[in-house]
Symmetry: C2
Subunit: 526 residues, 2 copies
């Protein structure tokens, strides 16, 4: 692909937005340097234009079918790979992330695109169901009924700051929506606009290679909230994907719920990801658990939504060993830039506030200037946490709060009162679980993913992954934003009654031309 | 079952609510007679007590598994069958429905309970996914990941007036929630409280037969909105099922969205159910189409959410024949009681208002007193409808608005601007569809179920049924409230990472002790 020079303009279908009145620039968080070029905020008219294009493209794009949707995603992956060297240069400038991480995240992104391509091509995800007619049935004949999932229509995607490729312009939300047959309008994250524009061009190029209807993809720039608000309010938008803070995610949820026609919001809003260490596991493995936790807390300078932010343990010799080892390990981690000055400032403020609360002791860490941060360890006893439940909420950065419980009962009480979580991790010897009846069910009632051992960071992209969980971890606990099931967010079932065979969608034709798994008169078959 | 005398008190788990300060009585819509006994409005404390019981029962009930959930539903069906003669007496008194309809609806209700029982027992609905560990994978080993759908927790169900059995206390919402493993708190419809109490006792008796945890079911009475509001606001409630009006459904949606922790609302709020008749079908089958429409409009005195309320056709000889035949058929339908005085008054007001709008001509029908109504036919031309889109909304009663279009373009324009619908029906000769490109996709984009010929009333209970559709037909177009897929509304996915085999839920154990269909390393197998 011949990458166009960066324009700083929103990509409107196959065209460009006009240069608007307001512009912004990214900054290099490692140096503080302002980066060229200027990016121009999209206007309300631009938002409208992008969604109207998407609405017009929607039926035609959906009707192209899974094979074309898959080819589109594969082509995006190729276009991105062709940009690898350029991205390896641009992404670190905008994010402070090291080149190796960027290349790794690019591989994750293209792998994700190809996984969704294979889901679209294989096509069984549409959950086709065929019930035969029973013309002789009494008192009423039964009609022929066939249903499957169809694309929901234009989807608005809000890119995240912490995965500039994998949860951004061509990340999981975009890939799963395009795989489902939905046009996508992305609101770029203002912290990495050049990255966004490069990736945006890759998507546009792939759409052009496949001669897809204009409007199947658009990309809007804004460093404020007006574009996002206009996008969510647009009457032709049908669903929203979002990864970011609880505050911003809830604002979008409220906006979507207040529309004349409410639409679903799939907001992944982070989590404190509790880690529970039971006594025998601590006795036998305190150091091993501590080593894993230290690496997981510090990974990506703590800017992962699955970073373990809360450790619960019953006080005792094992806990004391874990704490000592964790402090020793984290003390060795050098300070490093965070993704943005805003992230750094928010993290420093949050830690300073937490450290002042009753019973909180700061064991490690301080503040480190405008962009940088290093690991922070805080400690509290269970009673003080129970009195101040807000302390068990997410802080975005490399911190962990150790909760010293006097008893199993205290620990269970805290767990019962926790908010919804993306993950919950249990360190236990299998035998000691008999002493903790209901603990597994309790953890599963709180989180989308429960781990036995290990650390919650590292979210596999595969069929069984659930990157979701009860509010406030996500807006909609019935969904996942990572893994193949993410495609189901952007579809709804449609039933065809007594429809002529030749006029049915291929997934519902009796001959099963797509060779997909279907439920035929209640029996699963292919 | 020995039915207890009717108490008029809310059923709180295995107990009864106190007698409150406010009571109400049902009325026989055929005679206007006030019916005994008094029913006492539940208090806020009762609502809290019911939901707290449900919350306590939730993990234990969920853990009992699909075989027990299925046995519970089957036992409810048996208890209801034992009440058949009593229901055949009580339901007509409260609803004016004939005994034959009540016995038919009871069979539908018990059939539905047994269908959900078989879904729970078969258990493949949990969408189990197993991805093997890859300990050697580079750069990171892959953990073992296994996910399935788990019960979401206590569900609030709002009963409908128009199906006093099938969409009421032990109707589809209750059956699917109990099948998914969720406790249910029902808010009874005030129009048929004795029916509700009888059915409620049947559910309680079944729960006692199976020795289920108290709180798996409760039933609350109220003739106002305070109980429903308190139920939806209760922090331990996890989802809402509702069938009723758009106004009431939207109020519950707004209430649920404004909670500190928003919860999903599955509200089925009705629909105008457009019927499109293309020219050649009209030429060949105007009378056949008219006969079907007349029967469908008049069925149940028009009080079905799938009643066809809008007919679209291009003006011409075929349309004139259809209109004449429809008027002739509907003129023969005798007036009959509606379900409630409120329904009758609302219907009469709605028709009177519609008849006054520009271009509307009333061809049949007038108002008929406090409880009764008969068929109403209105006509308008397309331009006048386009100028007054509110006329294309649901009126609850036996009416139909005929829309005379001057051209195909006018008809398509109206269809494009229609709200979301439960159903859309197309009468066409298959050959003439070539002249209407995009029409099938347009109908499918508007509705949960599209019919080729026939009439939209008559909602099959089967795997392929979709009784859903875009807002305002329902709150959540991704779901159905009828058919086996309705169970998925009350579950969310949970992923177990590296969990010890013996501690996993049976659905996720490698040996597949439940013999369910699963996705194992991307392959569907049993």
């Amino acid at each position: 692909m011949n990458t166009p020079m960066l324009q700083g303009l929103s990509l409107m279908g196959y065209g460009l937005a006009e240069r608007g009145a307001v512009s912004f620039q990214a900054r290099n968080p490692a140096t503080g340097a302002v980066l060229p070029p200027h990016f121009y905020r999209a206007s309300e008219a631009d938002v409208n234009h992008a969604v109207v294009l998407a609405e017009a493209a929607a039926p035609q794009y959906a009707a192209l079918g899974g094979v074309v949707h898959g080819a589109f995603l594969r082509c995006i992956a190729e276009q991105l790979e062709a940009l690898a060297d350029e991205l390896a240069m641009v992404v670190p400038q905008e994010t402070g992330l090291p080149e190796a991480r960027v290349r790794g995240e690019l591989a994750r992104t293209t792998g994700q695109l190809r996984l969704f391509a294979s889901v679209a091509e294989e096509a069984s995800w549409v959950d086709a169901r065929l019930d035969s007619a029973q013309p002789e049935r009494l008192p009423q004949p039964r009609p022929a009924l066939r249903s499957h999932l169809q694309a929901i229509g234009p989807v608005g995607v809000f890119a995240a700051s912490n995965f500039p490729l994998a949860f951004s312009v061509a990340g999981g939300d975009t890939a799963s929506a395009l795989a489902a047959g939905c046009p996508v309008v992305v609101k770029a994250h203002p912290a990495h606009p050049a990255t966004s524009e490069l990736v945006g061009w890759a998507v546009v190029a792939a759409a052009q290679v496949l001669d897809l209807p204009e409007g199947v993809f658009s990309l809007l720039f804004d460093d404020g909230i007006t574009v996002g608000q206009a996008l969510v309010r647009h009457p032709a938008l049908r669903a929203v994907g979002f990864t970011g803070s609880l505050r911003a995610g809830r604002a979008l949820m409220d906006l979507a719920a207040a529309r004349p026609v409410p639409i679903p919001v799939y907001a992944e809003m982070g989590s404190v990801n509790p880690v529970v260490a039971l006594p025998r596991a601590l006795t036998h493995c305190a150091e091993l658990i501590a080593d894993g936790l230290a690496a997981s807390v510090a990974l990506g300078n703590g800017q992962f939504c699955t970073r373990p932010g809360l450790l619960l343990a019953v006080d005792g010799e094992g806990y004391v060993r874990l704490r000592a080892r964790l402090l020793g390990k984290l003390a060795l981690i050098p300070i490093a830039p965070m993704l943005t000055a805003r992230n750094a400032a928010a993290f420093h403020d949050d830690i300073a506030t937490m450290a002042k609360q009753a019973g909180v002791v700061q064991l490690l860490g301080a503040t480190y200037g405008e962009y940088q941060s290093g690991p922070v360890v805080l400690e509290i006893d269970a009673q003080n946490l129970l009195n101040q439940p807000a302390l068990a909420r997410e802080v975005f950065g490399p911190s962990i709060l150790l909760v010293r419980c006097a008893s199993a009962l205290e620990m269970l009480t805290i767990l019962r009162r926790l908010d919804g979580q993306l993950t919950a991790t249990l360190h236990a010897e299998p035998e000691e679980l008999a002493d903790w009846p209901g603990l597994t069910a309790l953890l599963a009632s709180k989180a989308g993913r429960v781990l036995f051992g290990g650390v919650p960071t590292g979210v596999e992209v595969c069929p069984a992954m659930v990157h979701g969980g009860p509010y406030p971890a996500t807006a909609d606990s019935r969904s996942t934003s990572v893994g193949t099931a993410a495609i189901q967010r952007f579809a709804r079932p449609v039933c065809y009654q007594n429809w002529p065979e030749a006029l049915l969608p291929p997934a519902l034709q009796l001959a099963n031309p797509l060779s997909i798994w279907r439920l035929v008169d209640g029996q699963r078959q292919r």
